[in-house]
């Protein structure tokens, strides 16, 4: 909490994303994008936290995000994703999908490609709720239950899965190059393969009995069968998409909607979640199951193991700590990363040692010393 830096920005932040850094360099990210929502005029903004900020910063200003540039965005920014170093894709509540280009020389943003009303109802536009990029491909989902596949620089839509869902799809993520995962408002996790024709998913996973909506999904960066989702009741679910159709474990995390869940991209034993209840949690799962201490920091992170998922995994050393079978052996530490606050934390992103999150309290928090 000591290193956390808050900045009030006069707009409710719906999304925050770090600009990717090249994997070869050990450089920390220094630029992030934010999207706003529920304003008369919404904006996509780029911020810098690096030493190369605009003005010569004083000692105490170090790390304070500085606005690089912003551009008007039609409708709420419901999701955004960096396509590459210079291009950002946004999902709008007007159903539009837009690619913005950042011109670092002039520090400006411009629209480079726009699919207006990509998501729509028969006679109205439908909010586009999620976007995910795997350059050159872009996948979006929306309240209209469609999954749309775009390709950068192709004007037309590559593929649409009509009626992919009878309810709203809340989030989407790539599982493998041709496969995506979606979560919907009736608690289902669906696996889609673009190689297959037709409008049916490859697999549907869900919690029996419950129909608690799922709001966020993320895939383990190294072990792609491990998937984490966050639900309306604030529960964190870990799924193994290879086996069974029910979640591997369920953890009580927040007291309201979990808006986002992210595995740390390079250190996936760490996981981050944020929620409508105004909290941001850092989860650490320790692989070393021999450790005697049963550490449970922060709050009541009770771990409920779902019975009836016997997974005989041959090579123990390859097992992820998130699927360590008996949850009483592995241990999970959770820490609150924000000082107490009441308004929703809508989005978070973590890269290297840097974490950024945005809230309905119109603040951006940046932590550049995340202990991972």
């Amino acid at each position: 909490m000591d290193y956390i830096n808050a900045k009030f920005v006069s707009q409710k932040i719906s999304k925050t994303r770090w600009r990717p850094v090249s994997s070869s360099s050990l450089q920390q990210p220094d630029i992030f994008a934010t999207g706003s929502w529920d304003n008369e005029e919404n904006k996509l903004s780029l911020w810098s936290v690096g030493e190369l900020g605009l003005s010569s910063m004083e000692e105490d200003m170090e790390g304070d995000p500085q606005l690089l540039c912003d551009i008007r965005h039609k409708g709420d920014v419901l999701d955004l994703s960096f396509l590459d170093q210079e291009r950002i894709v946004t999902a709008s509540s007007t159903g539009a999908v837009t690619i913005f280009r950042h011109h670092p020389n002039s520090q400006t943003l411009s629209v480079s490609q726009l699919w207006d009303r990509a998501h729509h109802y028969p006679c109205d536009s439908a909010p586009c709720t999620g976007v995910v990029c795997n350059s050159p491909e872009i996948v979006t989902v929306g309240e209209d239950g469609r999954i749309i596949l775009f390709r950068v620089d192709h004007k037309s839509i590559l593929r649409t899965i009509e009626n992919a869902d009878s309810s709203t799809i809340h989030a989407v993520t790539f599982l493998r190059t041709t496969e995506v995962l979606t979560v919907n408002s009736i608690g289902q996790l669906k696996l889609w393969d673009f190689r297959q024709q037709g409008n049916d998913p490859v697999q549907i996973l869900y919690l029996t009995g419950d129909r608690v909506p799922l709001h966020s999904v993320d895939r383990h960066p190294n072990q792609q069968h491990i998937v984490a989702t966050g639900g309306q009741d604030g529960m964190l679910c870990i799924w193994d998409v290879r086996h069974g159709s029910i979640p591997f474990s369920l953890m009580e995390a927040h007291s309201a909607e979990m808006w986002e869940v992210h595995f740390h991209p390079s250190n996936p034993d760490h996981l981050f979640t944020c929620s409508e209840d105004g909290s941001l949690l850092h989860w650490e799962s320790c692989t070393n199951s021999d450790a005697p201490s049963f550490l449970q920091g922060g709050r009541n992170a009770s771990v409920i193991s779902r019975g009836g998922v016997p997974q005989a995994i041959g090579n123990q050393s390859l097992t992820s700590s998130w699927l360590s079978g008996d949850s009483s052996k592995g241990h999970l530490e959770t820490t609150h990363m924000l000082p107490s606050q009441t308004l929703s934390v809508n989005s978070l992103d973590v890269l290297g040692q840097c974490l950024v999150c945005g809230t309905d309290g119109e603040a951006i928090y940046v932590n550049r010393h995340v202990p991972v």
Binding site: F8, S10, Q11, K12, S14, W37, D38, N39, E40, D76, L78, S93, Y121, P122, C123, D124, A126, P127, T129, E143, D144, G145, N163, D165, S166, S167, T168, N184, S185, I186, Q188, K190, I204, Y206, T208, G209, D210, R211, Q232, A256, E257, E276, S340, Q341, T342, L343, S344, D360, G361, E362, A363
Partner: protein, 667 residues
């Protein structure tokens, strides 16, 4: 059709005349001498329009104005920088409300409240600084004026707040009271430091033209150490006057300062101070400084000579600075109860009929009189937003300073002001979320306000609807939860999203609407022969029990699944039970019976004899109710009749087979 919204800017000003409570707002484009104006109240705004009324004597009606004007009451909430003030203070406010549980002891509580008050002030300061920074970057003049106006309002707000903090919250006793007041004046007259910096950085400070101004200002603010240091510079330049400077230095050094933490009692301090005062007086009497007018002036200030102080009007700039300086050099042990007397006198002396007191003056005076309610009342009138009074009143209420006062309307002053402030926030398209917490802490009317306001939040996306819904669910506002879900369900239905619509009505536990949507699903099935939105219907679970029709829909789909999985016996039993248990609506029985046909036609016997009887019974029940049409059999009826014939045939054949089979088995 010609109506068009038009935002008129609201120029607010601190009313120059205290008796004037009405702010006049001219609406551009409307000539009020020619036309009459009509208006309608909105939650925060006002709609004004021209009426058709023609005043008598008007020969030619003036060109009528085709606009409806939106007049904003509180423009400040639209300022992007002030939004930070609202957001940051919201956080502090919520923290303060939760204090009761955390802090047990009274002393700690007092410390905490003071801490909160300082936090509020630092937020105001941060906001002010940003406004000043931004104002210098802005190009259009008009904007600059707006920024300057906002800065001046914030300055006044901070000044009042700080004084209230000293007088009411810290409630400093005699002795330390003056120390606090000195801090207050120093903080709000900080231009001395800038000037001092300029002087000290010049090549020869003692020669600088502002040298004596700075020195006198230091003395007036009671910054003795700094004054001594700067005087040293002059002394070193004038070796001839060394003795005089040394005398002044020793006078200043000896000046007693009360130390509230020390062992010295107030009486001891008073005695000491009187002795020092006499010494200063003596120096003045024996003309020790006669050769040096500047030092003589300083000495006159030290003895608290009123005329001399009043001559320093330029340096004091305000009557309250004059008041504090006068107290410092005449009555350092002033008691809180005596303050109002000195304050009134100082104000009269300082203004001396040169200018009428401004609202700010009367507010400060009311504070010195310890009249909290007058302070709040005057601030409410003079300031154009509720932010300040609402937060200050809440803070004072937490110090238990407002208990005696009750309003003739509403519940109490604190709640009244908080409600006004929060209602203003709620009219804002984005800040409405902040208002919720303020309503929560208004015990009497907060909930009613919230209930009325929350239903008016436009629900553009599901995400926003979920956020509003969460607010309602956390507060057990069942009525509002139902209405939000219904709005969303209707919207989904309009867009032909049956699955979504059903999900929303299940969430609202709205049986009637769920029935309606189930009907639509069944209709779709009848026309297309397939179910849509299987992912939802297949996983209804216990939600199925919400309405009879929904139960039927779920069970009927289950039948189809069993049939597809070739579990014919199970399927048959389910199908029959749908009719016998009266789950299926009568209008749907024919479809169900038709569905039974392929089961009856299977090679092996599926329906037992008893089940077949029951099926026959259902068919009879369905057909006997109808009066057989004698003439003009329509096409539809024809098909129906054929269907019934087919069914009867199949049932009879199945019955025969079943009897044979059952008979054989038993044998």
């Amino acid at each position: 059709e010609r109506k068009c919204d038009f935002y008129s800017s609201h120029f607010s000003c601190i009313c120059q005349d205290r008796s004037l409570l009405v702010a006049t707002q001219l609406i551009p484009g409307i000539d009020s001498s020619q036309r009459h104006l009509g208006f309608v109240w909105g939650p925060g705004d006002l709609l004004a329009y021209e009426t058709q009324y023609k005043p008598t004597g008007a020969q030619h009606a003036a060109q009528s104005c085709p606009f409806v004007h939106v007049v904003r009451k509180d423009e400040d909430i639209y300022s992007p920088i002030l939004r930070k003030l609202f957001n940051e203070s919201h956080h502090i406010f919520v923290g303060l409300q939760n204090m009761k549980d955390d802090v047990p002891s009274k002393n700690k509580k007092h410390q905490y409240v003071t801490h909160v008050s300082k936090n509020y002030r630092s937020v105001i300061r941060a906001c002010m600084e940003e406004l000043q920074r931004t104002a210098s970057d802005i190009i259009p003049r008009w904007f600059e004026c707006m920024f300057i106006r906002q800065v001046s309002i914030l300055l006044a707000v901070e000044l009042i707040w700080n004084l209230c903090e000293v007088l009411f919250i810290e409630a400093a006793p005699a002795g330390s009271l003056l120390l606090h007041l000195l801090d207050w004046v120093r903080l709000h007259k900080a231009d001395v430091d800038e000037k001092a910096q300029e002087v000290l950085q010049s090549e020869c400070p003692a020669e600088h033209q502002a040298y004596w101004d700075v020195t006198v200002c230091y003395i007036l603010q009671g910054r003795i150490d700094e004054a001594r240091q700067i005087l040293l510079k002059q002394a070193s330049q004038q070796p001839a006057a060394r003795v005089t400077f040394k005398l002044m230095d020793s006078l200043l050094m000896k000046m007693p300062i009360y130390n509230p933490g020390g062992t010295q009692t107030l009486t001891e301090f008073d005695v000491k101070w009187r002795r020092w005062h006499q010494e200063c007086d003596r120096c003045l009497q024996d003309n020790s400084f006669a050769s040096h007018p500047h030092l003589e002036l300083i000495c006159k200030i030290l003895v608290g000579d009123e005329d001399t102080l009043l001559e320093q009007r330029e340096h004091l700039s305000t009557w309250y600075h004059f008041l504090v300086t006068r107290l410092l050099y005449c009555h350092p042990t002033v008691k809180p109860t005596e303050l109002h007397y000195y304050a009134q006198a100082s104000m009269d002396m300082f203004l001396d009929g040169r200018s009428a007191p401004e609202p700010l003056d009367s507010i400060l005076l009311a504070a010195f009189e310890f009249d909290i309610h007058q302070v709040i009342k005057d601030c409410s009138i003079a300031l154009n937003n509720w932010w300040f009074v609402a937060h200050l009143t809440d803070l004072l209420d937490h110090c238990k300073l407002l208990q005696s006062h009750n309003l003739h309307f509403g519940s109490n002053l604190r709640e009244f002001l908080l409600l006004e402030y929060a209602s203003g926030l709620f009219t804002h398209h984005s800040l409405w979320q902040l208002a919720v917490d303020y309503f929560d802490h208004c015990p009497e009317f907060g909930r009613v306000y919230l209930e009325l306001q929350i239903e008016r939040v436009p629900l553009d996306t599901e995400r926003k609807a979920l956020k509003v819904l969460r607010i309602c669910e956390q507060r057990q506002m069942a009525e509002q939860v139902r209405s939000i879900c219904k709005i969303m369900a209707k919207k989904a239905l309009r867009n032909n999203r049956l699955g979504s619509a059903l999900s929303w009505s299940i969430r609202a536990k709205d049986a009637a609407f769920a029935t309606l949507i189930s009907e639509r699903f069944l209709q779709d099935y009848c026309t297309h022969g397939t179910f849509s939105d299987l992912d939802l219907i297949d996983n209804l679970g216990s939600a199925m029990l919400l309405s009879d029709r929904l139960t039927f829909l779920g069970k009927y789909r289950e039948f189809h699944k069993l049939y597809a999985e070739k579990q014919f016996a199970e399927a048959a039993r389910l199908l029959l039970s749908l009719m016998t248990a009266k789950i299926a609506p009568r209008s749907f029985w024919m479809t169900l019976l038709t569905d039974a046909l392929p089961l009856l036609e299977q090679k092996q016997v599926i329906f037992s004899a008893d089940q077949t009887y029951e099926l026959m019974h259902c068919l009879e029940e369905l057909t006997t109710g109808k009066v057989a049409p004698e003439t003009e059999l329509s096409m539809q009826d024809n098909i129906e009749a054929t269907k019934i014939e087919l069914l009867r045939l199949a049932l009879a054949r199945n019955l025969a087979l079943a009897i044979v089979k059952e008979g054989t088995l038993e044998a």
